[in-house]
Amino acid sequence: MSDTHIVGKRVPAANANEIVTGQARYCPDIDLPGMLFGKLLYSPYARARVIRLDVSKARKIPGVAAIITHADIPGENSYLYAAADQPLLVIDEVRYQGEALAAVAAVDEHTADIALAAIEVEYEQLPGIFDPVEAMHPDADQIVPGEKNVLSSHSFSTGDVEAAIATADVVIQNKYQTQCAEHAFLETEGGVGLVEDDGRITVYSSCQAPHRDRMQIARALAMPESMVRVITPSIGGAFGAKDEAHVQIHAALLAHATGQPVRLIRGRRESILTHVKRHPFIVEYTTAATSDGKLVAVKARAIADAGPYTNATQEVLHKFGEFVGGPYKIVNLEVELIGVRTNNPITGAFRGFGAPQAAFVYESQMDDLARKLGMDPLQIRLLNGVETGTKTYTGVLIREGSAMKASLRKAAEMIAWQKRHSCERQPAPHLRRGFGIATTIKGSGAGRGIADHASAALEMHRDGSVILHSAAADMGQGIVTVMTQIAAERLGIDLASITVTNADTSRSPDAGPTCASRQTMVSGNAVLKAANTIRDSLLTMAARKTKTEKHRLDLKVGHLTIDGKPHELSVKDLALRASNWGIPLHSESLVHFEYPEDAPMATYRFAQEVFQFGTQIAQVLVDCETGQVTVERLIAVHDAGKMINPGGVYGQIEGGIAQGIGYALTEELIVEAGLTQNPSLENYIVPLSLDIPEIEIEVLEIPEPFGAPLGAKGIAESPLVPTAPAIRNAICDAINKPLYRLPMTAERILSIGDD
């Protein structure tokens, strides 16, 4: 595939024109005749019994079309992700601040607000449980009646950890804490529901998983899924939190109740209070090594705060455990993973699924180990790093792992690692400069053994134009652009000849959720397969017409080529001939995430087998008087397999690092006794343009050998993973003190003090 004509090119995003002209339509931009405005009533308390919920007065307010409570839900009153333990509307007890009790539809937003204020709720506040360790106690009050507070408890071990630790030369043992973090996608959650003439329900949903949304809406309405249609309009970011359903179900319920279109958009405060957050973790971690720096054992115990409901807690913990040892050769490893219910905010998927928490811990440990042994942080990582052919502690054979050490070496070269300390280390009495490195591993796909498939449909018309149907949600990361480029490449046409429809469950079978860095591989392969079928029909016809063997033919830039030379027959000519002869140029594919038949099954259940490696080096300046950290330089080397679109890949890397800088230094949802103290973009501190340095990026294009479309693999999550530990190691290098808690705010750095 070296001579591609569109794949590998930095073409603009498929929807770029609509975006720069302000014409792209997101949920809040949808305006339909007779449309009502939906709002939800949210609990101000973290835990309270609902003694009385009276909507009768509110219902009488002119302009209020409907108010629904749990009693008005025709079907199941629950979300359904991994479990069905979270109600759509509270029945008798609220379990976290911001849980919804009622849904209003009114003629305008103002009237909906008045109606919310007129709903009478009598609460009896209950003592909440906010400390996961306290919630784990056998005598602790049950947060969800009939359900254990420990909602998930798993362990995995390989080798003989205790023996390895007992005989090791060095043992490093630390306790880490990571924070509750907010996605802060710019477009808050939203949905627009409407009832079609034939009684079907259509929902425009700002989501990552349209088919899972459809299932959840259907079960809430007690309707067959065939009567529910979910469409994704443009989506203003998601980063995991829109993988789990939010208000699109309520929009559907209100539309169903009123017979009118209903638009329901969360305000910023409600958004921050209510959607799933990144899990705070408490981790006890032991690293054992020989005196020459070889890792011999890792032992970890992680407790994740789930909030009251399950959501993606098990999956996040599972991925944390999968990557808990990092990209290192470890024979003896033991990990215990515990998810606990509390009355804190609900937590779930957020870019990286547990991998960022794990990386902060294992990469901090590596630096502490290097320091204790007097070794170079780069060398100790090279010494222990995995390679192609390494069998990991999860029992996976790494089919392509050369990027692990290549990324370390390249990053080190870019910053002249060995000479790093020749710069001014103390440019002023109160300023200290430091350098930190972190190298990480993240997988693509749901994991082997979990359903992981996608469909795509392509149709070429008689004029050579093509329509592509896919239900893969694009939240900005660029899967639609990727699919368009793959289709254009294989069909030998230009991008302008391809039209892509929005993800629409009535047009396309399931492409699965857009998560786990999977769509480039799974939906990419689905498009590749469908395009190859049409291509084959075109080439069969061309072979007949030109009386040439098929293997000498190709389609390039609109034309047939024979032995690489352009022929007068265009792809359009071939499309017209096919149409005249009744040869179908339509193909719908279904592909599964592929694994080689002879690959051994992993010992870690549902382990991923395609990996993205990446190394980042941070140079920081710490103000020891204020605790302020300035990231002066950030070097990032990542592998993405073959890049389908460098614009998209670099964008993912820059954006992931920006989020990683926030995760490292400033972002923390401050929750006191279950109540969020900073539910605004003013007080939840995300990095802005002046907080991020010019990031120096190098992409290693090492094609993935198996199951990757044209060698491409996912890149969405991995760039965020090394940033926080790289910055942590740089701060520690500067101030010569270790840090074990995220975020590393000025206050926390000051409280440690300089030496």
Binding site: G22, G236, G267, R268, Y650, E654, G655, Q659, S689
Partner: protein, 158 residues
């Protein structure tokens, strides 16, 4: 109700609004110009930045009656006769956005910058968009896009 006259993207509009209507609501819901986005309603995100008499404002922080008699320019007013402004084209070519929700406000902040500074440094560009929150990118591609657009505009003016 408050009757007001306002010029939006060169077009004279007469509208009646409640006195507490924001300029953002006026643009989006009364005039159907949804390129300015509602990201926070508190002036923190910049997704609704428009030009009010040539100056950048967060439209969510301006009451519509305050814009009576004023001239407003939104992202919809950037392209002329179907031809993209160099900023718009450079934003596309440089991947200056991903989800695009910040883009309308971002473009207007950058447009205002280039009106007052035809050759900004990367730091000056970063300062000009310091009130525009983007969660998808690292701002870097965006800064490059503005540099390129500025160079193009300078070349065209010679």
């Amino acid at each position: 109700m408050f009757d007001l006259e306002i010029e939006v993207n060169g077009k004279q509009e007469q509208v009646s609004v409640e006195a507490d209507t924001t300029l953002l609501y006026l643009l989006r819901d009364k005039l159907g110009l949804t390129g300015s986005k509602d990201g926070c309603r508190s002036g923190d995100c910049g997704a609704c930045v428009v030009l009010l008499d040539g100056k950048t404002v967060n439209a969510c922080m301006v009451l519509a009656p305050q814009a009576n008699g004023a001239s407003v320019m939104t992202v919809e007013g950037l392209a002329k006769d179907g031809e993209l402004h160099p900023l718009q084209r450079c934003f596309s070519e440089s991947w200056a956005f991903q989800c695009g929700f910040c883009t309308g406000g971002m473009l207007m902040s950058c447009y205002a910058l280039l009106k007052s500074n035809s050759n900004p440094t990367r730091d000056e560009i970063r300062a000009a968009i310091a009130g525009n929150f983007c969660r998808c990118t690292g701002y870097q591609a965006l800064v490059t896009a503005v540099e390129q657009a500025a160079a193009e505009l300078r070349a065209n003016n010679v």
